[in-house]
């Protein structure tokens, strides 16, 4: 990813947003300002800004932390990102059939792996403990609707 690519992403976002503005239904109510004026103005403003950003990025005037010596990523950056996002995906996919604690444990293990902790029994135990404590405190003590903690409680 580079600032120029970010500019393209912004431009694409503005395109999609403009299409969404065009499909806002016209209200039958008599209004001084309708539902689409402000969204259209925001999209127009953002498009101009995205264009300015793109020009500046093309001229090399925009920042990318990965180019700084003390900020650049160590090898394996994408793998670490995927582990963290994978943990989130595991939670999303499993929380309904398995309850909160096991998916949250897997989510925690993914995050820990992203920070270079090995995927082993210690990681499983610690993340399981974190998930169980949160479930007990929030679902049990504070009454937050986290759903059942374990599959056999569903």
């Amino acid at each position: 990813m580079t600032p120029l690519r970010i500019a393209f992403v912004l431009a694409a976002l503005c395109g999609v947003a403009a299409w969404q503005v065009s499909v806002i239904p016209t209200s039958l109510m008599q209004m001084t300002v309708g539902a689409s004026l402000v969204p259209a103005a925001v999209v127009a403003g953002l498009s101009v800004l995205a264009l300015l950003y793109g020009i500046s990025a093309w001229r090399g005037g925009q920042a990318d932390e990965s180019l700084q010596e003390d900020q650049s990523p160590l090898p394996g950056a994408n793998r670490r990102l995927l582990f963290l996002l994978g943990g989130g995906l595991a939670f999303m996919g499993l929380v309904v059939p398995l309850g909160f604690i096991l998916p949250a444990t897997l989510c925690g293990m993914g995050v820990a792996r992203a920070f270079d902790a090995p995927l082993n029994f210690k990681s499983f135990t610690l993340c399981g403990l974190i998930a169980a404590v949160f479930w007990v405190v929030f679902a049990h003590v504070l009454g937050v609707g986290l759903g059942p903690g374990l599959p056999w409680l569903i």
Binding site: P3, I6, A17, Q20, V21, I24, S27, M29, T32, V33, A35, S36, V38, P39, V42, V43, G45, L46, L49, Y53, S56, Q62, A63, D64, E65, Q71, P73, L74, P75, G76, R80, L81, L84, L85, G87, G88, L89, F91, M92, V95, V96, F100, C107, G108, V111, A112, A114, F115, D116, A117, C127, I130, A131, F134, F138, L142, G143, V144, G145, L146
Partner: protein, 495 residues
């Protein structure tokens, strides 16, 4: 009822055991998040928000205020002992405080930071107590046109002045505004930016966006870097926590000067805490009898900026409580908390929720005392927290973030949105886009649109209403000046 009577009644409520307990919890959690690098008060309040709607509003806001003040206190510990300023406003403390720690005076650095924070926090709260009712009185004359202009000024100020680039700040603001407009239009009932998804009809939850950007985004960025795998080097807690006579003599004036910089600048729309801490540092350097010590561990260089930082924290509450205008990410989250509890913010807050507001202000005084008691004697505990290995720290943060968002409505869709915002936060961090304008835009855009439409309805569609009303015109003029002023200044100074 006069302000003083209302404040006394507020003390009566704040000193109730249950409220006091929430205040204590807030101060404890606030110090904890201030100490731990990478977690700020905005994230913590956003995280706790969906988990705490079962608790009465007064208790919750007392806790949030404790978190807010506590984080400002706790940040100094990290700055002094591991030279990692959690926020830009702690930069000067990190510079001088860490040098003091390296010279074996960590105890005195922590003590002057804590006592200075107490003194300045109390001065800031006093100023809030006496000036807030005056601002409210003036603000009662505001109509929708003035509100719209004030919101424009706030968002422009937050985007244009904060961060390293006005362009990137304005893009973040535009993105926030776009996201704030997602959902059903309240006046016409038309869906906007929903892509036909029923889950988006209610709009994007501020907490999902804030937690995604601050927690998941930060974790993704640090994981991408791969430089956080081990806990950082923590300085040994050296030197007595008792300050010598000379330390007191060199600190007390710096505390007061810092407080007098911090509060008024913090209360301005884009004031923040960075500018007063910098001003305080350079003032102390100029006035010190030992200027040669600056850069090598001068106690005034810790005392002044820390005091300015805490007074600014009180200042930020002024526009929030009196006008309903957030000027920082944390204030924006607190505003959304008011909305979550169905409380109308703005000048009428002091009339409609007088008990809550004055209890909150009273709890700030009490919180300052709790924080002083918590910070110094428990400094050993806070130091131990700095040694938590990052894998388990971030595993805890992400699991609680996911639990918080999932627990708010059992929505897997919102958890997905949380990670999407995480990716946005990661990109923003990597390409140096400031996060605060996005959050402020997300909250203020729909409110500004509402005010604009009300103003136009009242003026029978006359757009000139925004520039013919003197107050509204002045606010818009200041906003325009903030936008073009820096570029003009650069042009003039380059000649």
């Amino acid at each position: 009822m006069s302000s003083l009577d209302a404040l006394l009644a507020g003390f009566g409520n704040a000193l109730q055991p249950v409220t006091l307990m929430w205040g204590f919890v807030g101060c404890f959690v606030g110090t904890l998040v201030g100490v731990l690098p990478g977690i700020g008060p905005a994230l913590t309040i956003a995280l706790l928000l969906p988990l705490t709607y079962h608790v009465p509003a007064t208790s919750m806001f007392v806790m949030f205020a404790g978190i807010y003040y506590g984080a400002a206190y706790g940040g100094s510990t990290t700055s002094i002992l591991i030279k990692t300023p959690g926020e830009a406003s702690s930069m000067m403390t990190a510079l001088e405080g860490n040098k003091m720690a390296r010279r074996g005076r960590a105890g005195q650095a922590l003590a002057t930071a804590a006592i200075g924070s107490f003194v300045a926090g109390t001065i800031g709260t006093l100023a809030l107590t006496f000036f807030a009712p005056m601002v409210v009185e003036a603000a009662l004359a505001f109509g929708p046109a003035e509100y719209f202009s004030l919101m424009v000024l706030s968002v422009v100020a937050v985007s244009a002045v904060l961060g390293n680039s006005m362009l990137r700040g304005l893009i973040a603001l535009g993105l926030g505004a776009l996201l704030g407009l997602v959902g059903i239009d309240l006046q016409t009932g038309q869906p906007r930016f929903t892509f036909g998804q029923a889950s988006l009809l209610d709009g994007i939850e501020v907490t999902v966006a804030a937690v995604g950007i601050f927690a998941v985004g930060e974790a993704l960025y640090l994981a991408w870097q791969g430089r956080e795998s081990k806990a950082g080097e923590v300085m040994k807690l050296s030197g007595s926590l008792w300050m010598s006579k000379s330390d007191w003599a060199r600190s007390w004036k710096a505390w007061f000067r810092g407080a007098f910089y911090g509060f008024p600048i913090g209360a301005m729309p884009a004031g923040g805490a960075e500018l007063p801490t910098l001003l305080s540092y350079y003032t102390e350097k100029k006035l010190s009898k030992h200027p040669e010590e600056f850069g090598h561990g001068a106690i005034e260089g810790v005392a002044g900026p820390e005091a300015a930082n805490n007074a600014a924290a009180a200042g930020v509450l002024m526009p929030l409580l009196t006008l309903g205008i957030p000027t920082s990410a944390t204030a924006a989250i607190m505003l959304s908390a008011f909305e979550g509890y169905g409380i109308q913010t703005g000048p009428q807050l002091f009339a409609s929720q007088s008990s809550l507001v004055w209890t909150l202000i009273a709890s700030l005084y009490i919180g300052n005392i709790i924080l002083l008691v918590l910070n110094l004697p428990l400094v050993g505990l806070w130091v131990k927290l700095l040694k938590i290995p990052p894998p388990w720290l971030y595993a805890g943060i992400i699991v609680i973030s996911t639990a918080g968002v999932y627990g708010a409505g059992n929505s897997v869709f919102n958890v997905g949105l949380l990670y999407v915002f995480g990716l946005i936060g990661y990109a923003m961090r990597r390409f140096d886009f400031p996060a605060a304008p996005l959050i402020v835009g997300l909250i203020l855009a729909p409110m500004a649109e509402q005010s604009m439409r009300q103003a136009l309805t009242i003026s029978m569609g006359e757009w000139s209403t925004f520039v013919t009303r003197p107050l509204s015109a002045s606010l818009l003029a200041i906003a325009a000046l903030l936008l073009i002023g820096p570029a003009l200044w650069r042009k003039v100074s380059s000649r």
